[in-house]
């Protein structure tokens, strides 16, 4: 597998044209990202994120109606989209805006659309008589719950952020030693506000750290190879990969949030790996032609990147179809886009740069040597 790939490749296209392709492609990403922008998650921008569990799915007409009803609140950059909840398998409605929402204002509007909204789980159990004294304490420590018994209505009310219905029911049966009926109202709304200044701080921290990381990588590469042109090749490849990934995020609307920032960093790590492999094999090995060495490195490099790409595809497939874990899917997508870009930046561009550098340098050496002989 993957034998003599580079030789075959430059047999079809001149290596200098091949070299320019990824650079041109990455440069195209700059105006794209500049005009389209990268969608920011609310962690980096500030705003409010609301998730509602609905009994059934929500149609796009219903979403438009909801948006219309929300318009008096003047929510900036409002996005509403349906989904499926990981735990219950029920419908899910996500509402994201960059404005800060007044909870008491938005709740009635939402309730008109999706029905009663509970911010906590509440279990109501009718009892014949007051339960034993220690039951309250036992339940509250076991379920992190507030437990109250209403003497007038004879109702035991248990509220907590999360109640496992089955466990609570069996616990009550056990402690009360009688059959009970329990009405469990599950929490179905989760609101997360993020202040604008906090978002800005996160964003600034992120940018600062990224710049710092970039400078550090440059120094490590230069220190490792101590040769300006191959070092620049590695750094250029990493930069182009990051640009391609950013462009991909812009095109596919992948949110920039802590998770995808982490993915971008992972990407730089992975992409530089294959470039370091290539540069080391080409510069340090003394046998074979440059093309042979590149062919050799490509065989190893494609296995490396190929493995990661296949894993990412599998993760995207599994996390979008079976598990519905958006974070994992977005991390894997960023990595996938970046690694596909990395195939071109490493093997089209960086390999070309090295070939050109070695052959030119060798050419110059030959001239110098022949001058010396004269």
């Amino acid at each position: 597998m993957f034998d003599d790939m580079y030789t075959r490749l430059i047999g079809i296209v001149n290596y200098k044209i091949l070299l320019a392709l990824p650079i041109a492609f990455s440069l195209l990403m700059i105006p794209l990202v500049y005009t389209q922008g990268i969608p920011m998650g609310i962690d980096f921008q500030g705003g409010t994120w609301i998730e509602i569990i609905t009994e059934r799915g929500t149609s796009s007409e219903e979403i438009d109606e909801l948006k219309l009803d929300l318009s008096p609140l003047n929510l900036e950059d409002l996005r509403v989209y349906p989904g499926r909840d990981v735990i219950t398998g029920k419908g899910k409605l996500t509402i994201i805006t960059t404005s800060r929402i007044n909870e008491t204002e938005i709740k009635p509007i939402l309730e008109a659309h999706v029905g009663r909204l509970n911010e906590i789980d509440t279990a109501i159990v009718p009892l014949k008589e007051r339960p034993p004294i220690d039951l309250e304490e036992t339940l509250s420590s076991r379920f992190n719950a507030d437990v109250k018994f209403d003497e007038n209505t004879k109702l035991l009310i248990i509220s907590a952020f999360e109640i496992d219905g089955k466990k609570l029911e069996s616990a009550l049966r056990f402690y009360l030693n009688q059959n009970i009926t329990m009405d469990l109202q599950k929490k179905n709304i989760n609101i997360k506000p993020v202040g604008k200044t906090l978002g800005k701080t996160f964003r600034e921290q992120g940018i600062k750290a990224a710049i710092f990381a970039y400078l550090l990588i440059i120094s490590v590469i230069f220190f490792a190879f101590r040769d300006p042109i191959p070092s620049l090749g590695v750094i250029l490849a990493g930069t182009c990969d990051a640009l391609i990934a950013l462009g991909g995020m812009s095109i596919f609307g992948i949110l920039l949030e802590p998770a995808s920032l982490a993915a971008l960093l992972m990407l730089i790590g992975y992409s530089v790996d294959s470039d370091i492999l290539l540069t080391t094999r080409v510069l340090r090995r003394r046998t074979g032609t440059v093309d042979d060495r590149i062919n050799d490195a490509m065989k190893t490099g494609l296995t490396m990147t190929g493995t990661t790409i296949v894993v990412m595809i599998v993760i995207i497939l599994v996390s979008t179809t079976v598990f519905q874990i958006e974070i994992l899917a977005s991390i894997a997508s960023v990595l996938l886009i970046g690694l596909l870009g990395d195939l071109t930046t490493t093997w089209f561009m960086n390999a070309g740069i090295l070939k050109w550098y070695i052959e030119e340098k060798r050419g110059k050496l030959r001239i110098l040597q022949s001058l010396g002989r004269r």
Partner: protein
């Protein structure tokens, strides 16, 4: 068999095996790194040695932003004091062990795991409300928190390097504060100044007659029977009336004496004063709160309920010497203890007049069932990823003897990373899991490099490229790649949301470079030798 015997002689393999077994012992809590909570001790079990973050355990996370004080800018000292105030106020509420972590220049992260909705509401109330500091003498209000400002400059406070060590904190009183202090303190030299933080207002304390009798006997200074009893401290010095409840029945006549009060603190557990009484009290339109002793020291328990934090004695003339500016002094056996007492006093005195206003910037809830699912799914996806890697590697090399060591090394890497996390009590959250995946991913890359370099040795035997040269080249690639990954992650350690990710990646890469990669190289080398 021969291979295994040879491998077991190699120190690289010995280190790998011993680190994996040590890690297993740590992760499963065989080496007890986690004790669990007092009422539910953690025994041996896979994963019991690990600490899980909020996104796996479930809970609430609140981000507070501190604003610049009215005159000047926020300094690290002020942030430290704000943190201290929050800690003490939450502790006094009985909400202990809530981590309060300042980060950046002006943010404080508060994470509460396993709390009931009521507890979260009281935490939010504390965050929202200004602390109420008051100094009283014999129950009479001497100074309000808003009338004090603590000198936060470096000269304002300090400790001496002697043993015993003296400490001092400089404060300034406002005009009205100074006047009242003078009026109240004039004839009270040598008497205690009671400093309250969040003293309960319009509140009655209900207790049984047994508790009353005990508190009437106990005195503030244990060996000094002339010092005030705790009942006197509650009723006279804190001005909080006590409702004695006999035989678990409420006496309406007694209750009628307390007009204008809105709240009752039940200083009793349910065996002493039952919920029936509590409900009756609620019928009288009183809100109730239960604060049982739970085996604590009586004095400590009562002081927490009434919010009395400290009672130094008045040692200066409040009408001349220390009317508007004063130095509060104290001493402790060592400079370290003196510093602690000094910080405590600074925090207490600043609490009523927060140097910087705090605003809730973000609040997010992590449902624990979602966390459990995440953990389970991450594990399944991890297994799927490993199988995928194995398949790809098999397709490429068509040799099981390469696939199996790759998988074994990958798995040992995960185990050792988790072992270290258990050892240093690092909290595992979602970003940390992503970090482990990233580290193992680069590990697989490196193993492919080692494999290719080693295999080629077989094919290029005739050429004069020694094995050491090849391994050296492979490790040059590995070290350079590891160094770049580490330097990318280093700046990310400063970002709260990515700290776990960055730390786990760095640790994983280091473990990979120094332990698992050399071991893998050895295994492949021995296998290929035959």
């Amino acid at each position: 068999m021969d291979i295994i015997r040879r491998l077991l002689k190699s120190w690289k393999i010995i280190i790998l095996i011993s680190m994996v077994s040590l890690s297993l012992a740590l992760i499963t809590n065989v080496i007890p790194v986690n004790r669990g909570r007092a009422n539910e001790p953690l025994g041996v079990g896979f994963g019991n040695g690990l600490d899980y973050g909020l996104d796996f355990v479930g809970g609430i996370q609140i981000q507070l932003r501190l604003e610049d004080p009215p005159n000047g800018t926020l300094t690290p000292d002020i942030v430290e004091i704000e943190k201290g105030i929050l800690e003490r106020r939450l502790n006094a509420m009985g909400l202990r062990d809530i981590p309060i972590r300042p980060w950046g220049k002006r943010y404080i992260l508060i994470q509460v795991a396993k709390a009931s909705p009521e507890e979260i509401t009281s935490i939010e109330n504390i965050l929202r409300q200004q602390a109420r500091f008051e100094a009283r003498m014999d129950g009479e209000l001497a100074i309000l928190g808003s009338e004090i400002s603590v000198d936060l400059s470096p000269q304002g406070s300090g400790v001496t390097r002697t043993r015993p060590s003296e400490w001092h904190v400089g404060i300034r009183l406002s005009l009205s504060g100074g006047e009242r202090f003078c009026a109240v303190g004039r004839n009270r030299r040598g008497k205690p100044i009671d400093m309250f933080l969040d003293r309960p207002e319009s509140t009655i304390i209900a207790m049984t007659n047994e508790t009353y009798a005990i508190l009437n006997e106990l005195t503030e200074v244990e060996d000094d029977p002339t010092s005030d009893s705790y009942i006197k401290i509650i009723e006279n010095r804190s001005l909080i009336p006590i409702l004695v409840i006999e035989n678990d029945t409420l006496n309406p006549e007694k209750l009628a004496e307390f007009e204008g009060y809105r709240r009752v603190i039940l200083a009793a557990d349910e065996d002493q004063i039952s919920d029936r009484v509590r409900n009756e009290l609620e019928e009288y339109n009183l809100t109730t709160e239960r604060r049982p002793r739970n085996g604590r020291d009586y004095g400590e328990w009562i002081l927490d309920i009434i919010g009395l934090r400290s009672s130094p004695r008045l040692r200066c003339d409040p009408c001349t010497q220390c009317k508007y500016s004063a130095q509060i002094t104290g001493s402790a056996p060592t400079p370290e203890q003196a510093r602690e007492e000094m910080e405590e006093t600074k925090i207490l005195l600043s609490s009523g007049n927060l140097p910087a206003k705090a605003i809730v910037e973000s609040k997010s809830e992590f449902p624990s069932s979602l966390g459990e699912k995440f953990l389970e799914y991450s594990f399944i996806i991890g297994v799927i990823a490993i199988i995928t890697v194995a398949l790809v590697i098999f397709l490429r090399y068509r040799a099981l003897f390469i696939v199996i060591p790759t998988i074994i090394t990958g798995l040992s890497e995960i185990l050792i990373i988790l072992g270290v996390a258990a050892l240093i009590n690092w909290e595992l959250d979602l970003p940390a899991v992503a970090g482990i995946i990233a580290a193992v991913g680069t590990g697989v890359d490196d193993q492919i490099v080692i494999t290719d370099e080693t295999i080629k040795r077989g094919r290029e035997k005739k050429k004069i490229v020694s094995l050491t040269e090849r391994i050296r080249r492979a490790f040059f690639i590995i070290f350079t790649a590891a160094a770049t990954t580490i330097v990318v992650m280093l700046p990310m350690l400063s970002i709260q949301a990515l700290k776990g990710f960055a730390f786990m990646t760095i640790m994983g890469v280091l473990i990979g470079v120094f332990v698992t990669r050399p071991a893998y190289a050895k295994i492949i080398e021995e296998i290929l030798r035959d």
